[in-house]
Symmetry: C2
Subunit: 190 residues, 2 copies
């Protein structure tokens, strides 16, 4: 998606260690007009797939998922990273390893909101090692529901997550796929 690639070139900041900061428009400050275009593109890519639910993970996927959901006319569910006392025991759970935070945590979704007849589109801002996406896929499988695919804003294609998920047979649509990046050379897209 040219609009997103251009925005990453213009406003993304590359840091040592393979870190791409897009927090001025994607995951801290959020450009909702851009999200609208992203949502429209996901709707075009997954048209006719009879999506019934969009599933994302807190926190930075939520805004994109909600705005995209307006084009699908379906509810969004976000997987929670911690079990709060506001959620009863009936949850699906899986594990996610965060490379950013350097820890493993549980994600949960209430069983009330995922059913075997659901056709679920996964949406997230980043795909790198694929751990978050694998965690979400496991939640959908635990419910006996169908993963229609994954809509990703930025895929670090030089990391293994995208290939891993595609080899599982899951359709992954990434709007910007980064082939390589460096502080000196900037971002190169696939």
């Amino acid at each position: 998606m040219q609009l997103l690639e251009e925005r990453i070139r213009r406003d993304g900041k590359i840091r040592e260690g393979g870190v791409l900061k897009v927090d001025s428009f994607l995951n801290h400050q959020m450009d909702v007009a851009l999200f609208g275009e992203i949502g429209r593109e996901f709707a075009r890519l997954f048209e006719g797939q009879n999506v019934t639910k969009i599933l994302t993970i807190e926190a930075s996927g939520i805004g994109i998922a909600c705005i995209a959901a307006q084009y699908f006319n379906v509810p969004v569910i976000f997987a929670k990273k911690n079990k709060t006392k506001n959620i009863a025991g009936d949850v699906y759970t899986s594990k996610v390893e965060s490379f950013t935070h350097g820890k493993v945590y549980d994600i949960i979704v209430s069983k009330e909101f995922l059913h075997s007849e659901d056709r679920v589109l996964l949406i997230d801002d980043f795909l790198a090692n694929g751990s978050a996406l694998q965690g979400l896929i496991k939640l959908v499988e635990a419910a006996g529901a169908t993963v229609v695919g994954a809509g990703i804003c930025v895929e670090k294609a030089f990391q293994p997550g995208g290939d891993l998920i595609r080899e599982m047979g899951v359709r992954v649509e990434s709007l910007a796929r980064i082939k390589s990046m460096s502080v000196e050379g900037g971002v190169e897209f696939c």
Copy 2:
């Protein structure tokens, strides 16, 4: 807002200890069509206030804030609960006490995204003790920016937060104000 009150009556679940579960439409599964109506109502209430930024707090405020922001044509910033290595040192910080989770945590916003000329609308799903909202107000004040007001979906008016924030001189618009609630008697609105 009648639509929201009716939805709370229909789908909200009251638990012992003053817990109102609205996770089938507001803060776990999210009804984005309802969020659209909520956003439109916030836009009506704060029309002419020259809002330049919407500030919310992760995680459950993000979806509502993003959809509301479409009616204001402004970016959303969400305050983060943990400092990740993706955020540099230049942040505003304040403390929030979570009664749900029983702990105090820091919230942060990058100094890049809040400036003294900003007119900030705060948006959140719940107002009870007011700790999250006070934390957000402190972030805005630290930036020397102006708090235009707070748009809240559900205020537990029997808890002290709303009065506390209004006594600080901040305009608070809550779309559903709960006067009292009990497992036996259900919800009574103000």
